[in-house]
Amino acid sequence: MPRSLLGLAALALLGLAPASAAAQGFQVNEHGTCVMGRAGVGTPKPCGDGSAIFYNPAGIGGMTGGTVSLGVTGIYAYGGFTDDYTGETTDLENPLVPVPHAYFTYGITPKLTAGFGFFVPYGLGTKWPDTFEGRFNGYDNDLRSMYFQPTLAFKVNDVISVGAGFDFVLGSVELNQMLDLSEQPAPAPAPVGTTLGEVGIPFHTQFANAQIKATNATGFGGNFGVLVTPTPAISIGARYLSRVKLDYAGNAVFTQAPTGIVLPPANPFGAPGGTPLDTVIAQLGVFETLLADQGGDASITMPDQISLGVAVSPVESFTIMAEWQWVHWSLFDTLTLAFENLGEKVIEENYDNTNGFRFGLEWDAVRNMTFRGGYLYHQGAAPPETVTPLLPEGTRNEFTGGLGIRLTDRLAADLAYQYIRQNKRRGRVREPLPGTSPTVELNSGLYTFNAHLFGATLRFDF
């Protein structure tokens, strides 16, 4: 079994498991198809597939025997940005993103259970065309935080179980963005401090692609849960996932990008009319000096999560569940990128803490088949002034449905579908001027974002 987990983790590391925001901020909450089918309600009544390692570690307490489950959630996000002024819409080009999960549990004693989980609770993937007007904020971005969590749970008695997991987190990030020539200093004889915008270079004239890439950032955290079952028909759960700070050290690679401008005569660069601006830029030598390949670092804190939930079974075959989730997104207030040559760049994010409300149903309708459904509502983490191409998120309504099938005594499968409808949200496609903070006045269009999610998990009991 460990070999399978390692193999899956290796696949993830090889790039088959980029995550995409499917909850709030760059949070992903779909780490078990059973729970996904009931709108992510997993804290008060975890599923038996081991996904409790993520949703509520106490949930594996008292499990007998062993369980291995492997699954994947395919996230197909789509949307776009409609410019206020021109009315033109640019569509997202996000591919179908597979987000894997894997769990292993084993009952050491009737009360003590050990487990190991792999999941990706934070990640984002946004891909825009490289002609998108927001490409100066970022057009191809990928952030992943893969959690490897050994877990122990103890069933104190028939009423209370507790559990805790230690999270080893492996993170990577890749940001691609174009650099704006109009913001760059004009060469002599222009006075010192003059920008190229002041000599006529238009706003958002690309001249370089910046790729910032960092892998193997590591961090540590914990996941703690408690499950209370006062009666067989009622269960209450609580869970806390700690924050994890990831320090990324990577490289920034700058490559020249075509400006598309051919200089007319009498230009401020002194170049003959008909000279491509790209030629002039190349001769300035910036790609050998200021924009030479260089090291860079950044820190991002994956925020804390608190979940509280209750599940009630008015009849044995039917359970109604509700859960509240709070995510400490205000930790994501700034993103500081530090480069060897370029110095420090601070991006204000100013995220707000979010509340999510999940409601799920589970119905053992016929023998060996379970139907699930749910609805969830999530607040947006990004304030109105930081809705950007990097992550154009907002308030969401999500609808889920699922099916669990017991294939054999040892083998079960879960399938689920989830539709995410994010409220259309105004946002910006530019950074604020240097030294200023973002404001809603910079918002110049409307972001749309919706997603279809497909989950499948195979579970093997032994």
Binding site: A190, G197, P264, G274, L277, F357, N423, R426, L446
Partner: protein, 422 residues
């Protein structure tokens, strides 16, 4: 059995109702641009120095904001972004054409830079010096290098007006071209009025049509107004561009000058000047030389008998001959015929500025047939070419911009049934 299924039905119903309880579908919306009429929600202005608002040989933010496209945009109640220049300008405008003093004095840089922050879009796409070809092509071999070429990068970042228009996807455009296709000849210092520098009307028509083809390719334009070239000869008054003074006026001035400086004869205007137009630098230079001679005599530096008059010879290379002015006027008229035909065929508005100029020609002080060279003249510094023109004798004054804007608004209203006119 009924009792067992009721909670289940209730549960599913609850989940179905919850979205209504949370009702999170409060979508925000696109803030579409607004205007007094949907036709004008995205307005682009294309043209030359007149369109850009250049006055008194200079351009700055104040003058840019007095240009007729800005006034039109205000009437349209549409957003209109101008690539504003810092004060005192690039170059700063003259404050005295005779002393060549410019705004900001000698300490001012020859070109103050563009204002920051750089606008995210530009609606004022006019390029001083632009001929029709330069609205869509900067590199044709027929183009003659000019100092105004610097504006192509400085205002539009090296993009042609058509390329820049494509970025804002205009619903409405105004197009003013033709003046530089004829005036380049008039301003040529080697052979003023050189017919070879006048864009032949057939070539103009071909280039104008090609420019419109490029505009059509943008695919967003619902309407336009084409502005004709102003009439250059205004009856007996002279030129609508007083930079070119009628030679006959110089002949009259010779007598006045000689009378003022009698018994000296420091200025000699050739009789051949009677039928030509004299560019300001040529006539002004001759007059300055004559004054210097008078000063020398009066200062005792030059014996009166040694005074040799400064001569305005009106040689062909110096002045615009009658034939040349006719050639220029005829070309401009043919440009206008073609532009009007095209505008009519497309259902666009066409504005002929001739009535405004004719009306002003009949208004005292609008266009001076002869510059106010005399420092004692009350208009010497402020309106040396008349109140309709700025201090360079070529470009429109703010008042004329206002009248042109009103005329264009009328033409648009007539064509599109809008109500831009007050």
């Amino acid at each position: 059995m009924i009792r067992r299924t009721s909670p289940i039905r209730l549960g599913w119903a609850l989940v179905a109702v919850l979205p209504l309880v949370f009702a999170g579908c409060d979508d925000e919306t696109v803030n579409e641009p607004t205007a007094v009429d949907p036709l004008f929600v995205r307005y682009a202005s294309m043209g030359n120095s007149l369109t850009a608002g250049l006055q008194s040989g200079g351009l700055n933010d104040s003058l840019q904001n007095q240009a007729y496209p800005v006034l039109l945009a205000e009437a349209m109640e549409t957003d209109f972004t101008v690539p504003l220049l810092r004060s005192p300008g690039c170059p700063p405008p003259y404050v005295n054409i005779f002393t060549q003093e410019r705004l900001g004095g000698a300490a001012a840089p020859p070109c103050a830079l563009r204002q920051e922050p750089v606008p995210t879009r530009i609606n004022q796409l006019a390029i001083p010096g632009a001929e029709v070809l330069e609205l869509f092509d900067y590199f044709d071999t027929d183009l003659i290098p000019s100092a105004t070429d610097a504006f192509k990068t400085f205002l539009l970042g090296g993009r042609t007006p058509v390329q820049a228009a494509a970025e804002i996807r205009p619903t409405f455009v105004s197009i003013q071209v033709g003046s530089n296709d004829v005036l380049a000849a008039g301003l040529d210092e080697n052979n003023a009025g050189d017919p070879a520098l006048v864009t032949p009307p057939a070539v103009f028509a071909e280039r104008f049509d090609a420019m419109l083809d490029s505009l059509d390719a943008i695919g967003s334009i619902d309407g336009a107004v084409v502005i004709g070239v102003q009439p250059l000869v205004l009856g007996t008054v002279g030129a609508s561009v007083p930079y070119f003074s009628p030679g006959a006026a110089w002949l009259q001035f010779e007598q006045v000058f000689d009378g003022m400086t009698a018994p000296l004869n420091a200025l000699d205007v050739a009789l051949g000047c009677a039928t030509v137009f004299v560019p300001f630098p040529v006539g002004g230079g001759t007059l300055a030389a004559a004054r210097a001679k008078v000063d020398s005599v009066q200062g005792g530096l030059l014996p009166p008998q040694d005074l040799v008059p400064a001569v305005l010879s009106c040689e062909d290379a110096q002045v615009i001959t009658a034939a040349e002015i006719q050639n220029i006027a005829a070309a401009a008229a043919q440009y206008n015929v073609h532009m009007q035909q095209v505008a009519d065929a497309r259902g666009w508005a066409y504005y002929d500025p001739a009535p405004v100029f004719t009306q002003l020609a009949g208004t005292a002080g609008a266009f001076r047939p002869f510059p106010a060279f005399d420092p004692a003249d009350p208009q010497h510094e402020t309106q040396p070419f008349g109140f309709a023109l700025s201090l360079d004798g070529i470009h429109w004054s703010t008042l004329l911009h206002e009248q042109i804007a009103a005329g264009i608004a009328n033409a648009i209203d007539d064509q599109y049934g809008t109500s831009l006119s007050p």
